[in-house]
């Protein structure tokens, strides 16, 4: 067999996003304190961080070598909640190797995927159970939970693609998703005004 990896099976729990077995899974958790400056309402973010620093999302990665020609896969779980009027969301990133794609398949909850390109194009797709979104090469992506339960989706992307969060540490994404009288609305990020 030489250097060939052996096939692998994992159990995915759609209700929680949890993947097993544990020894074949890497877990990354992001708290509000990991996202300083990313929410419009800095005062609300500071207060919530001080009051317990909530867990906003977790990523479960199947333990596969992060290099070509592997495909990495796992689940992302974005918890329900808001910071001010803005919903809990992931940091969002370009792939470090930008000409790489990603596919999502939603297992639970309701979310929006905010996407944009270096050239300033923007796109938004809604996800709910049974829907898939294709993120073509070159599109940054951020996942937002606009529902009242966990937003869980399966993802797959090429090993070695990497993550570039830096582009969004200043102004953020060009769109933000806010609660307007109980409805999730996509609005232009005021910081770009």
């Amino acid at each position: 067999m030489g250097d060939l990896l052996r096939p692998l099976r994992l159990d995915i729990f759609p209700e929680t996003g949890f993947i097993g077995p544990e020894q074949a899974t890497q877990v990354t958790g992001r708290h509000l304190s990991d996202m300083r400056g990313m929410y419009q309402d800095g005062r609300a973010a500071e207060a919530m961080t001080a009051a317990g620093d909530p867990l906003l999302y977790q990523v479960y990665n199947a333990d596969i070598p992060d290099e070509p020609p592997h495909i990495l896969f796992g689940t992302t779980v974005v918890y329900p909640g808001k910071v001010g009027s803005e919903y809990f969301m992931t940091k969002g990133h370009y792939h470090a190797i930008e000409r790489t794609a990603e596919v999502y398949y939603c297992l639970k909850g309701r979310g929006m995927i905010l996407m944009e390109t270096r050239a300033g194009d923007v796109a938004v797709q809604h996800l709910e159970r049974g829907k898939a979104v294709y993120i073509p090469p070159g599109w940054a992506h951020r996942s937002v939970n606009v529902g009242s339960e966990e937003f869980v989706f399966f993802f797959a992307y090429p090993g070695g693609a990497g993550h570039d969060y830096e582009a969004f540490e200043g102004l953020g994404f060009r769109n933000v998703v806010v609660d307007r009288e109980g409805r999730a609305v996509v609005v232009a990020n005021p910081r770009f005004a």
Copy 2:
């Protein structure tokens, strides 16, 4: 935006494997007559082909360019049934570019994934709803429905990977899955004896 493809959303119906919208989906159906010589019981295969040539499986592909750096995804639906004592299955293939991987996530039913390498290594993984299988680079793969309803799974693999069916047109896979008194059993392919 230049040559960047725009993000795409598809609806996947886990009960049937059907993907919509139709204009964004390519469908490939395989009948028993497309699999001449692949079942051990040639007489049973001939009789069933003459008696109506059943549809064994369908593949729904999201309409994404089949080239790097895209990721192709969709669903495979293997229908329940047997040819002699052997369960309905896919043709099975290596990727034409062998050092490419694939991931499956099961949506419905019960199946087995037969895998093997050019060096003669073999592996079998069981799939049912909520379970994922990783097919590492270099492993041929065939999907077998060992249950009584449709076996449906979501798949993702790199654009341009291609399919090489030729390796299995002679002896077939090294393992076959047969019904032994109502139980699905993996046995060595007698043609390799």
